[in-house]
């Protein structure tokens, strides 16, 4: 583990100087703790081992760079299909644009609503993030816990009939947004959560998900067409016995995106899948940083990440599986692959396994490659033009990640978006 020699106090203070720490309400104490955590860790710097492949500057600097609002001509996920829509505009919940937040089996409130006294959220807020700070510090997550201005608090007690669909819209070139969603699935409950849309010029998020025994959480998100976006997102999940957690992210465009996912399997027979597909062209830096801890018997985890890069785009994958002593019969799988469509793009990968149990099956692989020339010629010899053939092979490359989405309609939606991106970004 990297030892941090120096705390970036000046940067940290500069970053939080203009922010206000809410003093009132049920989250005040947790936020104060987070602020203290952040000060103790300091903002990430270029010398941090965990930020070796991704320069955190744009995320750390005191004010966000302006990022032009892109007309959101990309429809939200599952547009027009039954779901409960929760709309945020420039990081603020928009009740008028949203559906009534009432759905059988789910209680939803807003983080910004400090008048309520929400006991379950109070006992969860910041706890998974705190747990996720060891063994690797994630100061940008603590920043969000301390200062997030809005977000959803979702408690799931049953099996709601439709997904909760979080839609992010933007109107401001300068929106510098921090959102914190806190989600608790009670025993046997299930929820599908969708996220899509351009959220902000700079976005920081934390999503804490507590998945109780036999509960199931499905998460699909798209990070779309806002080219100048910088974002650091964090998902922290804790899995109980026989529970399921599945998360998929499609990232297209965006100047800098760091998606951290920290999963802890604490109950036996739990299943956690995290997958991502990204397509990047030009000024694009995309970083998937995943940490999966197995701390129970007979659990399964899968990490499947695919990146298509061209025109100098950069992809990063830092993925770790930690199998604690006693976590026998662990089945861990990790694959990260990049398809480099030209010689200018790069993929940087750091796959890690750390295993303290002796009866486990863990595998990991990482590859970088170009389009398969044999396959390309085969397709062309059948009359498929070069560009269409390249697109077909590119989608085929991404397919393993997309297959991780269980819902067929969502899968089709994601495939359509990927094809659309390829159509727009002709070589």
């Amino acid at each position: 583990m990297a030892v941090k020699k120096q705390i970036n106090t000046a940067e940290t203070e500069a970053r939080i100087d203009t922010l206000t720490l809410p003093q009132a309400g049920w989250s005040a104490a947790s936020r104060a703790d987070a602020q203290a955590r952040l000060r103790a860790m300091g903002m990430p710097g270029r010398r941090d081992e965990y930020w070796k492949f991704t320069r955190p500057d744009a995320l750390v600097q005191a004010t966000a760079a302006t990022a032009e609002v892109v007309n959101n001509d990309e429809a939200p996920l599952m547009d027009g299909q039954p779901c409960l829509r929760a709309v945020f505009v420039d990081g603020v919940f928009d009740a008028d644009a949203s559906d009534d937040l009432a759905l059988e089996g789910v209680e939803i409130s807003r983080l910004a609503d400090t008048s309520a006294d929400i006991h379950w959220a109070q006992s969860l807020h910041g706890t998974l993030e705190t747990a996720g700070q060891t063994p690797v510090a994630r100061p940008l997550a603590a920043l969000v816990t301390a200062y997030a201005t809005d977000g959803l608090l979702i408690r799931v007690t049953g099996n709601p009939s439709k997904p909760v669909n979080v839609i992010y819209n933007r109107t401001s070139d300068n929106a510098d947004v921090m959102l914190h969603h806190v989600i608790k699935l009670e025993q046997g409950a299930s929820l599908t959560l969708l996220e899509s849309g351009p959220a902000a010029a700079r976005l920081g998020t934390v999503m804490e998900v507590d998945v109780a025994d036999t509960a199931a959480f499905h998460h699909v998100r798209t990070q779309g067409r806002d080219h100048q976006r910088v974002a650091a997102t964090h998902v922290f999940a804790r899995l109980g016995t026989e529970s399921t957690f599945k998360s998929f992210t499609l990232t297209a465009n965006g100047k800098l995106t760091r998606n951290e996912c920290v999963l802890e399997l604490t109950g036996d027979d739990a299943v956690a899948h995290v997958a991502g597909a990204c397509v990047g062209d030009g000024d694009f830096h995309h970083d998937d940083t995943v940490f999966v801890t197995h701390d129970a018997v007979n659990c399964e985890s899968r990490q499947v990440f695919k990146k298509v890069l061209r025109n100098g785009a950069t992809g990063v994958f830092q993925g770790k599986i930690l199998v604690k002593a006693g976590a026998q019969k662990t089945d861990g799988y990790q694959i990260s692959q990049s398809l480099l469509l030209d010689g200018d793009s790069q993929f940087l990968a750091k796959p890690e396994l750390e295993i303290y149990a002796d009866d486990v099956a863990c595998s990991h692989g990482s590859t970088s490659g170009a389009i398969d020339e044999e396959a390309l010629f085969y397709l062309r010899s059948r009359g498929v033009p070069e560009e269409a053939a390249t697109n077909l092979l590119t989608l085929a490359f991404l397919a393993e990640a997309v297959q991780e989405i269980e819902n067929e309609d969502l899968r089709a939606d994601i495939e359509t978006r990927m094809s659309g991106w390829l159509e727009r970004h002709r070589s």
Binding site: F377, S381, P385, L392
Partner: protein, 251 residues
């Protein structure tokens, strides 16, 4: 139909001449076979005609009808009516066989300015053709050639040929890796496509395939040239005596 004139080809990456002046003409409705020892340039000829990268034509021409094949991209050659059944069909994980075929059929139609085939019509046609080749629904759904046996891959090539309805079919060692039953099935598939407007060039090592797909003309290729041309009896001669006699005749 297919007219090859004095074709010279070398590998792009090394200065090695493989074809040293091939002359060949296949008329519509005819089946021509090319036989020859290993390394004589048979597969290179098929690849060069289909437009595979890595070869350099240093001299000569190849036309399909009025179309100068060597001047256009592989997909344009396909749209012009050329089809190569690969000796080693390529596996393409992640691309469904059906998607692949429909994309190919419609790309060719589009290139020729024809109307695209509807999903329903395509399904009807492919089911019919797949049935005669004993290709089941599962094989149509699976990724292209992935996990297919040798015989299944070759049958899949013939299915593609049947769907694309090319003018000129080149079969590169379609019999390799096939058992007797599979060879019969594949041959029946090819024979079903024989008609007076379509030419075939069948590349093979063995006479056996030619028992099923009866050739009109047989060529013997050696050292990058066609050294002898005759009727079906030439294939029998090779089968009985090997290539040595023919080679020594020429030299």
């Amino acid at each position: 139909m297919l007219k090859i004139n004095n074709l010279h080809v070398q590998l792009e990456e090394e200065d090695k001449q493989i074809l040293k002046g091939v002359n060949l003409e296949v008329e519509p409705g005819k089946v021509h076979a090319i036989m020859g020892p290993n390394g004589s340039g048979k597969s290179t000829l098929s690849y060069v005609l289909a437009g595979r990268p890595g070869y350099e034509v240093t001299e000569g021409t190849a036309h399909l009808g009025d179309v100068d094949l060597l001047d256009i991209e592989p997909e344009e050659r396909a749209a012009a009516g050329l089809f190569l059944a690969f000796q080693y069909p390529v596996e393409i994980p992640g691309v469904g066989n059906m998607t692949f075929l429909r994309t190919a059929v419609n790309a060719q139609r589009k290139a020729r300015g024809e109307e695209e085939m509807s999903a329903a019509e395509f399904l009807k046609v492919i089911r019919e053709k797949a049935k005669t080749l004993k290709i089941d629904a599962d094989m149509l759904k699976r990724p292209v050639n992935v996990g297919f046996s040798g015989g299944e891959k070759k049958r899949n090539e013939i299915l593609q040929m049947a769907m694309l309805e090319p003018k000129m079919c080149i079969l590169d060692e379609t019999d390799s890796g096939l058992d007797v039953d599979a060879m019969k099935l594949v041959s029946e598939g090819v024979n079903a496509l024989r008609d007076e407007g379509r030419g075939f060039l069948v590349i093979t090592h063995y006479q056996r395939l030619l028992d099923h797909i009866k050739p009109d003309v047989v060529h013997i290729m050696a050292d990058g040239r066609i050294i002898k041309t005759g009727g079906p009896e030439l294939a029998l001669e090779v089968e009985n005596n090997g290539y040595a006699d023919i080679l020594s005749e020429v030299v």
